[in-house]
Structures are given as structure tokens and as C-alpha cells.
Symmetry: C2
Subunit: 392 residues, 2 copies
């Protein structure tokens, strides 16, 4: 069923037949090269990547969910019984369940048994251990699992998962492009309703509603800030403060379509902007252009960082990086920092996010999303205006 | 700044002065009794509980955030530099930062140094290890931290955190009550717009917009199902299927106000309902009443389970429990199961969630929210209609 947003037809939901299988096959080739017998997956994006399993039920911390990727064949799910029906709707056919909650054995003995079934008693077992990962189960249960698998040797699966997930398929890119486009339209419409005197809570509410009306499934991430000539912080929820003439407002959002995120922002001046805000905006716009020009296959994230840095002519603010990967999560590997040597490849979807300190406690951030393609790099967001928009 | 939703004035945002301090003091008394020198907190609700730090930025997996609760005094934050301004707006004054991302040392050496500063080289260090917990940092970094603290003895902090967080303050109850009331109003208004032929995607979208218009900050959790006479699954996102006459639809939502959740559902028949659906609905309504009657201080979660079970006269469906705690998370400890002996106390906010298998592949679930108070138990949701609502 196709849903039409204001910006046109949405791409199909779900993944093309064979996409999860192809992901598993690619992972299994890397596992063979690394000598891994099995990978244990415990987090939402990791489980979804190989199974297609999409549910917001992960917000409940009560139950762990496990997916095991063997050396060949389909992944095997070890999940609470409440998830059996939804998991059976994916391409996963071997689904093992336990009645949950059962804190005294929250799937751990079943998981250990399944590991032994699939890979014997001395498996080389890959789990995510590296940057940006975590294990979504209690430490006590993790220790119990290891005690139940005395012959297992742990290996870090992060490099395998990272290199696969960084490169998006056409279906993934279409979902991200769709949500980028519809949220761009919402941002473009903001000057028609944004006014001094509105509280930031009301601005956030209207923005969320506009995204939903435009066809976003959800707006899980929305932060912003507003202050005279700039803002001091870009990770806070609204404070209930009325927007005042002279404020610069930023909204930074991760809206979703079918489980994929956009992540970009827009700035607006409420009434006349001062020179520092206008000039800073132009500089950030130019830095973003420089980042786009450097976003070519073969260049590295450090090259992107250097290209933007060269325009800004100074260290960036307290954001710590000038963009990152994007997909099933609001932020994904890599990071555009001075020392991230990740090589850009066709299929990578990234943000460009230069920031600038305008004055102590006054910063400005721009952010756009793009995809690296063999034929050239393509904006997924509609480019921000070249000059700071002024709301009268 | 007070926001008015359609259901009346919202409670104040934030927490009363002294509430975080009181939480810390209570925790420190329990730490002293358990011999703990320090508790390390790594997840959003744990950090927020003691600091008041509220941001959706946790959705980015790049950076860990740490809060250390010492034996006395205020908690100490060890956070990425990007979070310093927002953390400084809380009551936390000792804020130590590192420039992040920095995968080669993502705050770990600073955290180890801070542990030593606060509790010496041989601390009894509490961390969440028990049911429903996880450590939000990479396993490699966790192992590095332990290697950097060779004299530390780990203890499970779960019992301390659980017993504190289960009992809500008046300010917390007011936030949950507010979002329960406004979402109740949205559910009551659904028959005015819900129609056969609408796709479930459109129903979800309209419901989210209605919650925002009514004053919810966000609707992070929304699942549902619809099928002839019942549904097969209650954890899935919408599928794009048009609602058909004879369907029973359920929507189950966790909307938020100021960082606190409701979690309840409502059922609707599209056109005439069959006897099994009508009778099942009445039975679940009666089971919920029995749960409410049993929800008194001194009774246990097992008593609640037994009271509902006695009405249903059979094992419940594949949900695995008949309700749970509720607060900063969609689901919190405890669980209403046959063997959860948690004693109900004034201030506990819980759900009642009986479920029934109507036929193979056809289930029904009811859910309401309530607060246990010394003067009597109080519904936070407006009670569902006694008979299955029929949409013509």
C-alpha cells in the first residue's frame, strides 16, 4: 500500500525479496575470512538488519531479543514468546521462544543451547564490542551466558557489521531520501507559521504535526534552541520560553519513514538578525558546500572534515565532529573528524554538520544529508537557503 | 510556562526543587546499608533519575554518558563536551567532559580517574546488572574501565535503583496522570473519525496527530493490530492494510509528557462484532476491574495476577504478564506474573493488562493505568467503555 505525502508517492515499505538474504551472505563471507562461526546480535538495528524485524517494542526494557547469524543459511531468532508472530512474518524461519518475563532465566539457557546447536561447544563467537555498540542484556545474564558456553571464544563483530551497514542499498536510500524530502518541505513551510511570541513548546508541537501530515511515520528526534543571535545548546528539548525578536532558532530533527531516519536542521531569525548571525550562517553554508564537493568516493571522512574546517578557518564548536553516517539510526558510523580515515564509498549516506561558535554561549549549526553515488554525490535534503531566513 | 491541552492545564515541567537531592539521599542511605561507595549509571532513565537531565540525544549511539553517585553529596557527571551546557542546567555542578567522538578513549580514562577521585582505588562499585538493565557502553570500553580499576569490587545496584524508582513522587504522578488523561480523550474521540476502508497507516498517523494536538509532547510508542474478530499480534507497526468491516482494531500507545509515559490501549469493532469478540471484551473488562480491586497496598503483583486470572478462568495469551510498572520508561519493574512477589506500595504507578486468546491467531488485550495511593487506588486512564465500541 502506497501512502502519498504532500511531496509525492512514498517508496514501498519493507525490503525487496532477497535483501536480508544478501546481507547475510555478505556477512557470512566476512565471517569466514575472520574465522567466526557465529555472530550474536542483541540490539534493534543489528537484529533488524539481518531479519527485517521492525517493532517499537524494543522500548520496553523487560525482554531481551537475540538473533544468531550462523556460518551459512538464515539467521535464527531466540525471542520472547510475545514476539513469535511478528518474527514469523520476516524471512526468519527458525524461531525459538521462551515465556517472558522470566527473570530467573530470561532466555539465557535457550540462547546457550541454540549457540551449541548451531556452532558446537567451542565456537568462535562474534559479538559487537567496538565503538557505538552495546550489549542489550543485563550484565548478570551476559556473565551467565558466558559461563554456559565455557568453550566459546569471543571476537569483536563490530568491523564486519560496520562495513556492511555503512553502505546502503537502493531500497534503504529511497526510504531516507523520502523522509529527507518531506521534512525539507516542512522546513520550507515554517516561515508561513513561525512567529515571535510562540513558545518553543508550541513550535516543536506544530513541527511534529506538520511532519506527520507530510507523511513521516514518526518524529523520534527533535531538539532545538533559540536565543538572542544564536543558541547555547543543541541537544535540549523545548523549555517553554516564548520566541523573542532577535532570537535565532534552530530545529534539528530525526524523522522516520519505515524505520529509516533523516537528520538535519534549519535556522531561522526572528525579526532582524545581527551581522554575526548573518555572517556565521553564510560561512556555515559555504563550509557545507565545501564538504559536499569533497564527498567523493575515495576521499575520507578526515578529508571532509578538513574541507569544511578550511572554510571555517577555526576549530569547530563543542559538537566534536562535522557529520556522521545515517540510516536505521539517527547517527551511525563513521564520524567526520580530523582522524577518521574511513573511505567514502558509493551507497554511503552521511550528514554534513559544521558548527561555529559565534560568541561565548552563542553557537550555530548547519546540517544536510547526502548520498555518495558512483555517478556523483546527491543531496537528499533540499539545500538550506543561502541566507539566514528572517521571520518578520 | 504552562501548556494547555484540550483536557485542561498541564502540570509544571521539570521537577520541584530538592526532588533530585531527595532521591540521591535515599539512594545513599541504601548504599550505606549495602556497603557501596559509588554507583555508576549509564542509561537514560538512571542518569535522568538522579540529575534531571532530559534530552532525546541518547538516540545517538556514538557517545556514552556517565553519572556517578557518591556516598554523599551531589552526583558527578562524566559526559561528552557537547552535553556540558545542558547538564549544567541541572542541579549537577561537578561536570567533567571529554571531546567526543574519540573512539580510542571514549571517556573511559576520565571515568576511571573520576571513580578514583570520588572513592579511592578499592571502591565497592555498584552498577546495574539485574533484570531489565543493561550497560550503555561498548563491551571493549567496559573491559578497559575494569582494567583501569583493578581494586574495584563490582556489586549489583539494581535492587537499590528498582526500589526507589518503583515509588513515584507527586510530581511524577502528575505528569503520568496528565498524559493518561489527554490520551484518554483522544481515544474517546476516535469513533468520530475511525472508518472502515482507512488504512492502518492512516489511523496511526491521525492518532499521533490527535495526541500532539491534545498536548502530548511525543508518541514514542504506538503499535496495533486489526483482523476479523481479533488480532494476531500486538507489537507490530501498521502494515498498510485497509480496515475491513468485521475487524477488531487495537491501538496501544505510550505517549509522553515531560519525559513520563502513559501505556494503555483501546479496542474498536469496525461494523458488527461477533459474539466471541463482544464476550471476550466483557471478560477482559471484568478482569481489569478485579485487578483494580486487588491493587491495594500490601498485596503483591502475584495477587493482581491471580485476581485477573480468576476472572479469565484460563491461562492468559502470549503476552507473558498482565501488566507492569510505568514511568520514565514505557515499561518498568515490576511485572504482574504468577510469581512476582513485589509488594504494592503507595506511589506505585502500574498498568493492568489482561489478555485473552479468542481463537487461534485471534487475541484481545485490555490495558489501563492506575496509581496506588494510601487513600485508595485511582485510575489514571479514563476507564474503557464496558462494551466493545462498534464503529458503523
Amino acid at each position: 500500500m502506497i501512502q502519498a505525502g504532500m511531496t509525492g508517492s512514498a517508496p514501498d515499505r519493507g525490503l525487496p525479496a532477497g535483501e536480508c538474504a544478501a546481507r547475510c551472505t555478505r556477512a557470512q563471507a566476512l565471517m569466514a575470512a575472520a574465522g567466526l562461526d557465529l555472530i550474536l546480535l542483541t540490539t534493534e538495528p543489528e537484529v533488524r538488519y539481518f531479519s527485517g524485524f521492525l517493532t517499537p517494542f524494543w522500548q520496553s526494557p523487560t525482554r531481551p531479543w537475540f538473533l544468531l547469524l550462523p556460518a551459512d543459511g538464515r539467521p535464527v531468532a531466540v525471542v520472547p514468546r510475545i514476539g513469535a508472530v511478528a518474527m514469523a512474518a520476516t524471512w526468519v524461519t527458525d524461531i525459538r521462544t521462551w515465556p517472558s518475563p522470566r527473570p530467573q532465566d530470561e532466555g539465557i539457557s535457550l540462547l546457550a543451547d541454540t549457540v551449541r546447536d548451531l556452532a558446537g561447544t567451542t565456537p568462535m563467537l562474534g559479538v559487537s564490542q567496538g565503538p557505538e555498540s552495546h550489549l542489550r542484556l543485563p550484565l548478570t545474564d551476559w556473565n551467565r551466558l558466558l559461563a554456559g558456553l565455557p568453550g566459546a571464544v569471543l571476537r569483536d563483530a563490530t568491523p564486519i557489521l560496520r562495513q556492511l551497514r555503512m553502505v546502503k542499498s537502493p531500497a534503504e536510500i529511497a526510504k531516507i531520501a523520502h523522509v529527507c524530502d518531506l521534512v525539507s518541505e516542512v522546513f520550507e513551510g515554517m516561515p508561513a507559521w513561525l512567529r515571535p511570541g510562540m513558545s518553543d513548546i508550541e513550535v516543536f508541537r506544530r513541527f511534529r504535526i506538520a511532519c506527520l501530515e507530510a507523511g513521516a511515520d514518526d518524529v523520534p528526534y527533535l531538539v532545538g534552541g533559540a536565543g538572542p543571535g544564536g543558541y547555547g545548546d543543541i541537544i535540549s528539548p523545548p523549555q517553554g520560553r516564548p520566541l523573542a525578536p532577535g532570537d535565532v532558532l534552530v530545529l534539528d530533527t530525526g524523522a522516520t519513514f519505515d524505520g529509516y531516519f533523516c537528520d538535519f536542521d534549519r535556522n531561522y531569525a526572528l525579526g532582524p538578525a545581527d551581522d554575526a548571525a548573518r555572517d556565521g550562517y553564510r560561512l556555515l553554508h559555504a563550509a557545507t558546500e565545501a564538504g559536499f564537493a569533497a564527498a567523493r568516493p575515495g576521499n575520507t571522512c578526515a578529508d571532509l572534515f578538513a574541507a569544511m574546517q578550511a572554510v571555517l578557518g577555526r576549530a569547530d564548536g563543542d559538537v566534536g565532529r562535522m557529520g556522521h553516517g545515517l540510516g536505521m539510526q539517527l547517527t551511525e558510523w563513521p564520524s567526520h573528524t580530523a582522524d577518521d580515515e574511513t573511505v567514502l564509498q558509493p551507497g554511503m549516506v552521511i550528514t554534513l554538520e559544521p558548527s561555529l561558535d559565534l560568541a561565548p554561549g552563542r553557537m550555530m549549526v548547519h546540517e544536510e544529508n547526502l548520498v555518495i553515488e558512483a555517478a556523483g554525490t546527491r543531496w537528499l535534503t533540499r539545500r538550506a537557503p543561502a541566507e539566514l531566513p528572517v521571520i518578520d
